[in-house]
Symmetry: D2
Subunit: 340 residues, 4 copies
């Protein structure tokens, strides 16, 4: 029986906690820590049988009965808490991104090579790799149905834009939103990115532009093998969360679409109408969140490799930084320009 501590009891911390309680045999959430924990959250935690509730995550790191932690706190705390948790000998599941700063991600990677660190599992929360649709597309690549990969296309549009304040603090769209899509390109192709070119645009909210960010972009990528990839992003999508991918290769293509609440259609004089996609990430990726945590715990229990490594976390951030540079400088940027 594995004991788990949850660091950060916001939305995603709660989702993971609930997944472990509901679906993961052999693991138990025994502690939760959040500096801003509310009485409601405490009650909720108690109702799930979690007894150790704290404002300070150090209580979790110091608790020798705890085997693994899930770092679900704010982005800027991911790498420092990771370092402390490694030092404390905890296995770690860290929400993406590890950090916006490559140097600090490097510190985490270094710590994982330390005598303590090298016995620990460290997994990054790129949840979309665990989505049933994207997994099926990846499967078709792995089993050879697609042949040699030549092009990966990722559509990723959020239903509603964040506030300009959020955008200003977010690290920019490429590190905040597209980072998932960069990981998806690496996941679906099984390849590293070599060059990025961005056509950015502010089409949704001028305030986002005023805050120094953009809200729409087409990102074109060259992969190491010479294959290509392209991502289109928008911070607002009238029909809901648009999350699709397509891999094209020498033998064919594999592609997936959105999920809706049902596949029912109404046929009438005005056409054939089906439901729009599920609203946003909590709706679309609920199954993926449960699967990723389940697989993290299985990797710890069985001492097998984690499905998303710290290196994966590093590469996605590097591409994000290159994309940000391309967006600002209006030219293609090679990954080799970004210290790795």
């Amino acid at each position: 029986m594995l004991n788990i501590g949850i660091i950060g009891a916001g939305r995603i911390g709660k989702v993971h906690t609930q997944s472990i309680v509901n679906f993961v045999r052999g693991a138990k959430v025994t502690a939760i820590a959040d500096p801003f924990i509310t009485p409601e959250t405490s009650d909720w935690a108690h109702s799930l049988g979690i007894e150790a509730i704290s404002k300070d995550y150090h209580s979790i790191l110091h608790d020798s009965s705890i085997d693994a932690v899930l770092i679900c706190s704010s982005t800027d705390t991911h790498s420092p808490i990771s370092l402390e948790a490694i030092a404390a000998g905890k296995h770690i599941f860290c929400e993406k991104p590890i950090d916006h700063d490559i140097g600090r991600i490097r510190e985490v990677l270094a710590a994982l090579k330390s005598p303590v660190g090298q016995n620990l599992k460290y997994m990054v929360g790129f949840n979309r790799r665990f989505d049933h649709n994207f997994r099926a597309v990846r499967s078709a690549v792995v089993n050879g149905s697609v042949g040699k990969v030549e092009l990966v296309k990722v559509t990723s549009r959020d239903p509603e834009p964040p506030s300009a304040e959020y955008a200003a603090r977010s690290g920019g769209i490429f590190l905040d939103m597209t980072i998932h899509d960069f990981d998806m390109v690496r996941y679906l192709s099984g390849e590293e990115v070599e060059e990025v070119f961005v056509h950015p645009a502010v089409l949704v909210d001028p305030a986002i532009g005023a805050a120094g960010d953009v809200d729409s972009a087409v990102i074109s990528l060259k992969l190491r093998s010479g294959a290509l990839a392209v991502i289109d992003n928008c911070r607002r999508c009238a029909y809901g969360y648009d999350q699709r991918a397509e891999v094209f290769g020498s033998l064919g293509a594999s592609l997936c679409g959105n999920d809706a609440n049902s596949n029912a259609q109404v046929w009438s004089g005005s056409g054939a109408t089906g439901e729009k996609p599920l609203f946003f990430f909590l709706e679309r990726y609920m199954q993926a969140y449960a699967t990723e945590v389940t697989e993290f715990i299985a990797a710890v229990e069985n001492n097998t490799p984690v499905p998303v490594t710290a290196e994966d976390g590093l590469q996605a951030v590097r591409i994000g930084i290159a994309a940000t540079k391309s967006s600002k400088e209006g030219r293609p940027v090679k990954l080799s320009e970004i210290a790795g």
Copy 2:
């Protein structure tokens, strides 16, 4: 070069004429006859290079330069003109049904066994057998993908009901409308029908009921092998002409849907909307009409079997008569009750 005479210059006569002009190399429409021919139709025929235009089809039958006739006149004239045309040594394409009376169909079959008749091609116009979608379903049956056929389902709904006057003269829904679906069951299954049960209903227009007909029905059929079939009909369908089929068997199923003007979709806050099906038979089956005439002419030219025989015409009418009987008597009716 085959010379063709068209008997009946109504809607379907014109469709076939146009198909031959546009698509059939090696055949030429040289004559057209219709007792009610209008000046507009004459002009139209002239513009296509048809010179012999007449009110009396006998002029076509007596024209020794004409090899084949298409009988597109009113239903009650199909069998008498067929008999005359056989006597005149013409190959015949006859619109469905040959006749509503089994005895008169039998006369046509007998004439086709006469010394003159046995050298003639006689094809019945069950156009849906030539539709690209239904052909693909049939193909999957023939190539074994479906395995042993166990169930055929046919959905057949017209966009708009006929007038009650038409219904009264039509021979009833089962001989007028369902007859196509009976042929479809035979075509898709490759089997003969053994028993029919009908649940009839008047749901669209009470005047159709008052005229002694029904406007909706579910027709359940037992085939000779023990396999089953079911047809659902309605004389009115708000979203257009609904023409679908499904064949289910030991190894799987093959099924087809409707055609629309385009496959474009609009995705918006109110869902994902595609176009409704093509409006009615002239839209949906334009390709099928051209193909059936092309195949008739090819059968004449190459002296090969026609794809829809007079026997096919007979069997569909027999099933229609059995269905009418079942509808009126509220019991399953065996085909053996209907003289064949």
Copy 3:
């Protein structure tokens, strides 16, 4: 906090238990009883925090701390346990069918009108009413998109046939399998059935025929308003569990298809291939099982009507008996022939 006792710890008993543990706040499974309970099942129950484990369901009925029971035992025990549980003042969720014998169902209905019974909730487990797809189709009927209902079509095919032994004990396909589809017709149309006609067939396994049952059928129904319905059943389906429905009405149609593990497709030289449907009821209806139990518990907690009543349970069995009679006698059977 509602305390729940589970009677019958087979497959479906376990599914419901797990659903309550995972998804239902405000209810707790505190006891479980099964005459053939295995050590593995006991361990599983303990791991979920269920302490009262017994071979005799009377211990549950006698436990005054238990508010509601789920009857998941073998079909022949449903009605006697229902009667005992009503007498014991427990709210009841009973798996379908209540009984194969109308008289015994009547006894349950009578008990529910007794002084004790009339304060109790009694719900029948027609899980498909809670499936996201069928609910969306029903929604389109209720919100008027379909107009006046004229035809309900239900496709229901199991992936693999039961053994002939099972078939012999099952009450026959119409009470064992089609009963769900009869309920679906009533649910989607909101109407009562007036007449049933069956075309039965043994196409899958002759041993099922030898056991006095059939394995395939088309069932045609007339509803009280004059609307029609048709169900097609097969005990074996090569591509998995086929569960679809279509409601056709004066303004259009609403229809739903199967669910698959993903919507991914592979496009290659041999066509465009998507996944087959989810295998069987445990895969397809997992969400429906959780929703139905959640709604049962909500009805108990809030003292609101249950979504599937004992009367619903009765009517589905009546139609099943009428269908069995039609199948055996080869004629349409009116519901009025079956004592209600």
Copy 4:
């Protein structure tokens, strides 16, 4: 009655001739010219009633009975023949591109402003604008369903690569193949292109690379309004001709897919399989070819604007030249760099 002369009796010249013969009332092909005309082609032309067959297109230009010409000859002859035909006072339908050289296109535009030229219709053969699917997508833009356009995505993949020899002579993929997609971006968005960036690749045939061309590319475009567009191209596609588009805007999206020979599916133990797309342009765009010629002739007859102008022809070539430059120089290229 309009008399038409066909210049160039290759594949596309024949397609247009046939379309006029079959579908266009009020126009007649009276002459055809091709320097390499074969006896078979002459026979075919005679069989369609075309009497003036020549090796020299000047006979068409000098024939005062001819009102309009279709220029279907090799690309390098399009602009010189256009100039001569304008001088001869013929209305002109010219296959794309007018020329690979902007200066020579400018000469054609100038000639169209001459006293003779300004009374002539000049239409460029961007056939895809007339495809039912792309038209329906454009319709949704025009009728406001999509809102303000923010992104256009065009997928365009040919089933089979041309020979390296062809590639060497073709002007390069961007002027030979992508030119259609550049026009599609302008058509669907209703906007001009401002900047182009290309990620080119040789993934299909190294000989194409050796010939100085590429066979795969992602092309990212910025439009004048700030909206974005992206095209993906490949010269080889295992599942056939892949021609899809998507327009995304403030209120939603409109998108279209490929056409297949039928919509039939086979459902089996290995999944649900539909047909692959129609093979290539002659299959997919047969309807579009007929419609474009019909609309050209209608514009001449009614003296209304042509749906694709010489200016449209110019702009597509300019974008193609900019894309070629971007591909070679590895940087975004502004349209303003290319003399217009």
